[in-house]
Amino acid sequence: MTAAPPVLDVRGLSKRYLGLTAVDDLSYSVEAGTVVGMIGPNGSGKSTSIDCISGFQPADGGQWFLDGRELTGLRPSQIAHAGLIRTFQNVRAYEEMTLLENLCVASQESDGVGWLRALGRGGRLRRAEAAAQARGRDLLASVGLAEYAGAPAAILSYGQRKLLAIAASMMARPRLVVLDEPVAGVNPTMIRRIEQVIHALNAEGVTLLIIEHNVDFVMSLCRRVIVLESGRKIADGPPGVIRSDPRVLAAYLGKTRATELAAGGV
């Protein structure tokens, strides 16, 4: 079968800090149109691997490709241009800017208006800005923040900021969005809202990779889950299989308890 290349293809990614191997020969791919979850205990290398493929940390080994185009070694801004957008675990927003500005900034480097045109203020710039504002308002409406479009981002709650970050990640119509812990520290009502937003975006054709601590959230949202432990991939498959995988149980619950459960047949 000659399928299109996966949206994201990671091969043999490694990252070491002095003696510690944070990511160890990690390979996986994400197919177009899917929502893939990535889970693993603390320190299993989830966030480090994302920092590497988004260019925020130099990798020590491996290659990665977006739609078959190699991204290895590029700067974060170049990787974003290529179509891989990531959010951050510790939510980030431009506090002094309005929500709408937060969103318009997020797409301004990808709409083809160069520096001179940006200063000239001609028709092309006006059209690009109008299009960005329209998309920004749509996205704010879809995450339920429409009424705050003109408010500075500093007034938002923690959960609202996560929603803003998800909306911003969609502005430039990326090929792949990597959400780094979208629901950590968020109340249950907001978690349901974020889940709906992710479903809606995926229905529009956005491919997502979701890094999470919250196992239930990932299991209910994703049809495929990758599990990391100590920087290695220990399981990769549908939630039903992952749930009963002895290595996953061992990683999460400790060897003894996992063996008991396996014997008892959960």
Partner: protein
């Protein structure tokens, strides 16, 4: 246009008109000297605001660009017979080139590296001006600069001799420089600069290359500071190493901090007030600088974050005020 917008346009037009009319009311050299000082500092402070207030880079290099422009213009006009215009422009271009070199070499490390390098650069400029005697004539400087002339369109030969002439020259340049800065900061380039200052990693993750915007801000501010140095020095009629004095750095930093880093109009207003303030306090010669210091402290207590910061806080407070919940 919004009501706030037309109010702003009206007050800017009124302010510019008043400034242009000043020499017709008074030939008082002191008043005109304050005007020259305001025009010069407005270019330096707004340039610093572009770099520090918008892009978030603490820079001590402005005075270095200012002095490089001054020396370049003087040497080209005196030794090479260039006109004032081309000499000042060359000063600006050289300052921008130097700015790009120190910016590119240090900004790839960190913002802090840049702050240190910019400070060292400013100190180094003064040492070079003092010790490279064959070029700069050392600490005595180059006194007795000639009266510059300028060929204006329409065949007018303008001899820039009287204080009023310098007043118009520098005010005219300052208006052009402010307009350039205003166009940049209100464009999406300015928005990207603010994004870089507010959250650099987020900006990067959205495809913004911070280095490019930092270098743009630095080069533009250096270009304008160098050019204004090249013009201002002919008003002083002497260029010596004191053109790199820390006094300039200190004054423009105070102007930016009081006006509110990242606030175009706030910094322009604080430049005007702080130019006039030492003069307004002249009624008491002994206590003048003490009072000046007192005013600075009082303003920082009432307006931490400057005028611009105060306006921002008011905007926040308006949104935070409890409102009726949407049903």
């Amino acid at each position: 246009m919004t009501r706030g917008g037309s109010l702003r346009t009206a007050s800017v037009a009124l302010g510019a008109g008043t400034l242009l009319a000043v020499p017709t009311w008074t030939g008082n050299e002191y008043v005109l000297a304050l005007g020259v000082s305001f025009a010069t500092f407005s270019v330096l402070a707004s340039g610093l605001n572009l770099v520090y207030g918008y892009t978030g880079l603490l820079s001590f290099a402005q005075v270095g660009f200012f002095g490089i422009g001054a020396y370049t213009a003087v040497l080209l006009v005196l030794e090479r017979g260039w006109s004032l215009w081309t000499g000042a422009a060359a000063g600006g271009v050289l300052a921008a080139a130097v700015g790009l070199v120190i910016g590119y070499s240090s900004l790839r490390l960190s913002r802090h590296a840049f702050a240190i390098v910019s400070l060292s650069f400013a100190l180094l400029c003064m040492i070079v001006a003092r010790d490279w005697v064959s070029l700069t004539r050392g600490s005595m400087g180059i006194p007795g600069l000639p009266t510059p002339t300028m060929n204006l369109p329409g065949g007018i030969h303008w001899r820039i001799a009287k204080p009023a002439d310098f007043y118009y020259l520098l005010l005219g340049f300052a208006c052009a420089a402010q307009a350039m800065i205003y166009v940049v900061v209100t464009s999406r380039l300015g928005r990207a600069m603010r994004a870089v200052k507010l959250n650099e990693a987020l900006a990067q993750s959205q495809g913004i290359n911070p280095l490019a915007y930092k270098l743009l801000a630095l080069a533009l501010s250096a270009l304008l500071a160098g050019a204004v140095g090249g013009l201002f020095v002919f008003y002083l009629t002497i260029v010596d190493p004191s053109i790199f004095d820390f006094y300039y750095t200190e004054t423009m930093l105070i102007m930016v901090i009081m006006g509110g880093p990242g606030s175009f109009w706030g910094v322009l207003l604080s430049t005007a007030v702080l130019t006039a303030l030492p003069d307004a306090l002249r009624f008491t010669t002994d206590l003048r600088m003490v009072l000046y210091g007192g005013v600075l402290i009082a303003v920082m207590l009432v307006f931490p974050g400057g005028l611009g910061g105060w306006l921002q806080r008011r905007r926040l407070a308006r949104w935070r005020r409890p409102r009726s919940l949407p049903s």
